[in-house]
């Protein structure tokens, strides 16, 4: 390990979608085993950051750098990034008709882990994680996300995370749409099903989930920048006071800071 705090390093990342600049210079450092949270108003670029990290093609990086364990992530295809250990739990997971959860996940697992688990071996592994997450057995034979309820989709994302054991899991609003019980199960999954030194980046609007997944750092994103960083107490302050005080300081009007 060359740098201690060097799992993911994002420096001055600027991202355009079409002609519109969405990320206007994001800096973020995540060390191994750390839990980070990003909060911020709707439309400020939180998902954009997640997609850009994962390498979605319509997201054009115009400047800045992203490295994972010292390697240049921006040069990698989305699947290479995944194989490096980057996982994104989607805010809106796609439906893939005709492709069953277990088949899909087995292919993904074998590709990422460079293993050749048989159908039976994999089934056992999957079953264990499903039991932990209280997902009904029948889901493994269903088509990926097709007809899943909002909450089921989210839980299925966490199941995939638990199976694929990433080094960095980015959870984009995994908590929205979950009932209270489901939220606790999902949080427990994040806390207990990942390896010790895996890191988590939680994107959320609610302090609620952070009661279960305790963040080491909380960042606030406003208009494409991380404008404030603190500990768990920052999330509580936001819950209480909203974003206005930050918007005033860093938003449209407050563009004075460079």
């Amino acid at each position: 390990m060359t740098e201690k705090n060097g799992l993911l390093t994002v420096e001055n990342l600027k991202v355009k979608i079409g002609d519109k600049e969405i990320l206007k210079g994001v800096d973020l450092k995540i060390g191994p085993g750390e839990v980070h949270a990003i909060m911020g108003p709707n439309g400020t670029g939180k998902s954009t950051l997640a997609y850009a990290l994962a390498g979605k093609s319509s997201y054009e990086v115009t400047s800045g750098s992203v490295t994972m364990e010292g390697e240049n992530v921006l040069e990698m295809s989305p699947d290479e990034r995944a194989r490096k250990g980057l996982f994104l739990a989607f805010q809106y997971p796609s439906e893939v008709p005709g492709v069953t959860v277990d088949n899909f996940l087995r292919v993904a697992y074998n590709t990422i882990k460079k293993e050749e688990l048989s159908i039976w071996e994999f089934r056992n592994l999957l079953k264990e994680k499903m039991e932990f997450l209280k997902i009904d057995e029948s889901f493994s034979g269903r088509y990926l996300n097709e007809g899943f309820s909002g909450g089921e989709k989210k839980r299925n994302e966490i199941l995939q995370m638990a199976v694929l054991q990433p080094k960095l899991a980015v959870l984009d609003e995994t908590d929205s749409g979950l009932d209270i019980d489901a939220l606790q199960i999902v949080a427990k999954g994040v806390n207990e099903l990942l390896p010790e030194d895996s890191s988590v980046l939680v994107i959320t609007h609610y302090q609620r989930i952070l009661r279960y997944i305790k963040p080491d750092f909380v960042h606030v994103m406003i208009e494409g920048r991380i404008v404030e960083t603190g500990g768990g107490e920052l999330a509580e302050k936001l819950e209480e006071k909203g974003y206005d005080w930050l918007k005033e300081k860093y938003g449209e009007s407050g563009k004075d800071s460079d």
Binding site: D79, L88, S94, V96, P97, F104, V107, A108, Y143
Partner: protein
């Protein structure tokens, strides 16, 4: 058509090789009254068959080419060889099949598959069958599974009774042509109450350039019987065109069930114009499972005539149209009795400049109460230049009918590809996974070995940068 063990080549159509078998008999190109008589004479057929052929030839001359579908203007009936006999004897022991022919079939995975999981197999090479076998168990129970030429010699009564009873020569120009020059094909009879547990397979191979293959297949499922028949077809890649124009007639008697599965994978120079039709009697079920890959033009609409109360038709087809190909396929179901049901599922994939057309007809006659029909067509376009069109005709004359119809056209979505890539799956594999998912309702009906083969064939279609 299961996994071949030999690697034949890396080009996108891997069955495109030809071999130089010296045929026993090969006709000159062209079609005349004499061609028809010669075929009949070579086979020493009974007079009634010769007459039937000649009558059909007259009908062929009178009928116009179908102009409502794909472009057939390039077909030149005088530029086709109508009969090629590759081997003068049909074998029942695989070891006796001439070496080159054997090698061809072995490259295609036959009879390897037969040994593993088939109840019987037939292999046709150009105009005639070169090999046939049926497991003793089924033979003892009275199942007949032979090529249609042999059937005409050994079971003349049965053939005479049913030949042309489902697809008469006058049905269309190509059915007339087939009736005039037919050769080979499978003849399958299942006695009352016999349920054949394993599939029976026939394999059709065109080898000669400019060849016309006109097999005639008949299946008679007697009352309460049950059978699954699978056919596979391939041909070498030539610069000139070949014609495959088969007729398939099926009779499903009371309470019987027939599943007819086709996995065709023609080379890009084959015109594939096939008439397939079944009649289903009281409470019988006819299933057409039809995969259309390759060919230059395919026009094929497996149909079912629901003759008596409670009869059921299930038709599921997929078509993959690559650049230079037009898959004009679909289905026709005619409800001629009350309380009959039909279900049609059609899935098409168009790639490059490929074009796929769904053409279907569901007809429910007046007074046929309580009929149900469900039609579902989904088209998937892989490229900007790909095309698809849908002609779902529905003619309902009875007010009690319950009809559902749904059609969708979709593009391969970037969101889905990205989602799968985010789970470590490379882009090409992600595409294949989505496409195989799209046709999953079809593949899941195939025996496992064929499902695997099907997915692999699709992957081969995806690899070739045809253009």
């Amino acid at each position: 058509m299961s996994l071949p063990t030999t690697d034949i080549g890396t080009e996108e159509y891997k069955y495109g090789f030809s071999d130089d078998v010296k045929p026993e008999i090969i006709f000159d190109k062209g079609l005349s009254r004499k061609t028809v008589e010669d075929i009949s004479n070579i086979k020493s057929e009974p007079g009634w068959m010769t007459d039937l052929r000649l009558k059909a030839y007259e009908i062929f001359l009178e009928k116009p080419m179908p102009e409502w579908g794909a472009d057939l203007s390039e077909i030149d009936f005088d530029d086709i060889i109508y009969f090629v006999r590759a081997s003068d004897k049909k074998m029942t022991d695989w070891d006796d099949v001439p070496a080159e022919i054997k090698e061809t079939f072995e490259k295609l995975g036959i009879p390897e598959s037969e040994r593993k999981f088939l109840a019987g197999a037939e292999a046709q090479y150009d105009s005639e069958s070169v090999y046939g076998a049926l497991q003793g168990e089924w033979e003892k129970q009275g199942v007949i599974f032979v090529d249609t030429d042999t059937a005409l010699r050994e079971h003349e009564k049965l053939v005479k009774k049913y030949f042309g009873s489902v697809v008469p020569a006058a049905d269309n120009k190509l059915a007339a042509l087939n009736t005039a020059v037919w050769s080979g094909g499978s003849f399958l009879y299942i006695p009352k109450g016999v349920k054949v547990g394993l599939p029976l397979q026939a394999y059709f191979r065109i080898n000669t350039q400019n060849m016309g293959q006109f097999e005639r297949t008949m299946i008679i499922a007697d009352e309460g019987s049950n059978v699954q028949y699978i056919e596979g077809c391939t041909a070498p890649t030539y610069t000139t065109n070949s014609l495959h124009s088969a007729v398939v007639e099926i009779i499903c008697k009371k309470d019987s069930r027939v599943r007819y599965t086709t996995l065709q994978n023609w080379s890009g120079n084959v015109y594939n114009l096939v008439t397939k039709r079944a009649q289903a009697y009281e409470n019988a079920t006819m299933e057409w499972i039809d995969a259309n890959l390759g060919s230059k033009v395919t026009m094929k609409y497996p149909s079912v005539y629901l003759m008596e109360r409670g009869a059921k038709a299930d038709v599921i087809s997929i078509a993959f149209a690559n650049t230079g190909q037009h898959q004009d396929v679909g289905s026709k179901v005619v409800h001629l009795a009350p309380y009959t049901t039909s279900k049609i599922i059609s899935k098409s994939i168009s790639k490059g400049k490929g074009r796929s057309t769904y053409r279907g007809l569901v007809k429910i006659h007046e007074g046929m109460e309580g009929c149900k029909s469900n039609v579902n067509c989904d088209a998937l376009l892989l490229d900007e230049a790909s095309a698809t069109d849908t002609y779902p005709y529905i003619e309902i004359e009875d007010p009690t009918a319950a009809i559902e119809h749904e059609a969708t056209v979709s593009k391969l979505s970037d969101e889905q590809i990205f989602y799968l890539q985010q789970r470590g799956i490379p882009e090409d594999e992600a595409r294949n996974m989505i496409i195989n998912g799209f046709i999953e309702p079809f593949t899941k009906l195939l025996p496992l070995e064929y499902a695997v083969e099907m997915n692999r064939l699709i992957e081969l279609q995806m690899e070739g940068s045809v253009g």
